[in-house]
Symmetry: C2
Subunit: 92 residues, 2 copies
C-alpha cells in the first residue's frame, strides 16, 4: 500500500496526554518537526490506525488532533523557515 508523507499536528492542554500523543507519533516512525507537529511516511492503514490510537489517548480531554496526508507533488512545494534554538521535546 502506498505510503504518503503525513503531517500530524495537535493542540492539547494536558501534559501527560500530549506526551503520550508524541510518543505514539514516534512509535509510528514519525519525526518531530515542531513542538506539536510530527511528519513521516504512513500508508492508509497505518494512518488510520495511528489516528484511532491518538483519539483513544485524547479520549474526552479537550484538544484537537489533525492528520493530513500530503502527496509527493505537494511535499515539494513546502516553504520552511527555521531559526536556531529548536523546541524542546516533552522529555529529554
Amino acid at each position: 500500500m502506498d505510503e504518503l508523507r503525513t503531517l500530524v499536528i495537535y493542540d492539547i492542554e494536558d501534559d501527560k496526554v500530549r506526551l503520550r500523543i508524541s510518543e505514539s507519533c514516534l512509535d509510528y516512525g514519525l519525526v518531530r518537526i515542531q513542538y506539536s507537529a510530527f511528519l513521516g511516511a504512513l500508508n492508509r492503514n497505518k494512518r488510520e490506525e495511528l489516528f484511532l490510537r491518538l483519539c483513544a489517548l485524547l479520549d474526552d480531554n479537550p484538544g484537537k488532533i489533525l492528520l493530513q496526508p500530503i502527496c509527493d507533488k505537494d511535499v515539494k512545494e513546502v516553504l520552511v523557515k527555521e531559526n536556531e534554538k529548536p523546541s524542546e521535546p516533552d522529555v529529554l
Copy 2:
C-alpha cells in the same frame, strides 16, 4: 492562478512575534484551526508573499514556520478529532 488549501504551522516562543504571525495569517484570509495552525486557500503568489512576510516578522528570533499547500485530493483524506474547549486565540 490556482488556489490551494495551505496549512501554516509555527512554533515561536516570543509572544509578540507569535501574535504578529497570527495576525498576518488572518490578513491573508486564513482561519485558525489550532493555537499555532492556520488553514486557507492561497495561490502560489500569495503563498510566497505570506511566507516572506512571516519570515520578516520572525526575523532572527528563534522559531519555526512551515507553509504546506495541500491539493484537493489530499484535503479529502484529512483525519480530524476535536473535543470541546478550543484553544484561546492570542487576543480576544
